[in-house]
Symmetry: C2
Subunit: 199 residues, 2 copies
């Protein structure tokens, strides 16, 4: 299969690219690195990326901005960071993919463990991540041509503990290579409308 | 208790107002009717409403715009209808309420059954409704002063079948008076971070 990985130079995305490259041709995409660059918040750019790439069997997204901060200090603008980034950025990819993926192709998006297990300071993030899961469950029943869509909901990565460890006290971190298996389960599997918990 | 019901002239909101008025003082708010008017998409208006109302023990929202239409025809703008309306409209109310409600007060928002049971044409709606649930679960652990927050996830109302019946074929409609009980369970109860399924 030919698989596009968006966010391919991030902690999770690079592990997903390595996992998938064992069996598939992987096209790496980043906001500033990778074989192609895209700002997923710009639907026109996303559509252009798919139009140029052609002949894809799967797309994985491990990208999207989120705001972290205490509820008492959140403004609507803080929520918009995640709604524009993590939520609509990934929705943009899925909406373009439904036109351009080969028949029977798959879309795999990323949510987060905070949706199921709330943590302090993650209200705006949980709101966006929950939206991603709602989108995936609903889009699955309407996608044409045998296209599938799933989300992976990862816990904190061992490789990111130095960045996010304080948020996730008491959560068991996993290796990005283990999270990557959940993405492979979506890409190489046959289910749709699922949220695979990577924790 | 003194309870503000936003969307109080809608099918569900009017039933909620009737249910709560048996035990509480109810202030009705609508976009164009009720004792006060507010556009919940405008955070400044929402804050002004709370500042003027003062001394509230609870707020219920049964309001918020959604777009309904097939996945294949959705644009980012269609998603924004629900993200601005049903999601951020209700988030705006909760964010203002955390400042203005009396200690121990409660916030009750509205999501929808399509989040758990996807239906054709409701992708953009499910995305926004799922966001509401993610927000409620996460906000519950950070609200100060004993404030509580829950969501009610209603199925289609008997009173709305003539409008939405075609979307909900095979779903069992309930009377708005029965959905109102779930809102009362949130307002008069003691739980927080819950999603009460009204179906």
């Amino acid at each position: 299969m030919k698989v596009m990985v968006i966010g391919a130079t991030g902690t999770i995305g690079s592990a997903v690219a390595r996992e998938l490259a064992q069996r598939h041709e992987v096209i790496t995409v980043g906001s500033r690195s990778g074989q192609h660059q895209v700002n997923i918040e710009d639907f026109a750019q996303v559509k252009r990326l798919f139009a140029q790439s052609g002949n894809l069997d799967a797309v994985v997204v491990a990208a999207g901005a989120l705001h972290v901060g205490p509820l008492s200090q959140l403004t609507p603008e803080h929520f918009h960071v995640g709604l524009k980034g993590k939520l609509m950025g990934q929705v943009n990819v899925a909406m373009a993919a439904q036109q351009y993926l080969n028949d029977g192709g798959s879309i795999t998006l990323t949510s987060g463990i905070d949706t199921d297990h709330p943590i302090r300071g993650a209200v705006a993030a949980s709101t966006a991540n929950a939206g991603v899961q709602g989108f995936v469950r609903a889009a699955a029943i309407e996608l044409p041509r045998g296209l599938r869509i799933n989300a992976v909901s990862p816990t904190v990565m061992q490789e990111s503990l130095h960045l996010f460890g304080d948020l996730f006290t008491g959560f068991e971190p996993i290796a990005a290579s283990r999270a990557a298996l959940a993405y492979a389960r979506s890409v190489d599997g046959a289910q749709t409308g699922q949220v695979y918990k990577a924790w």
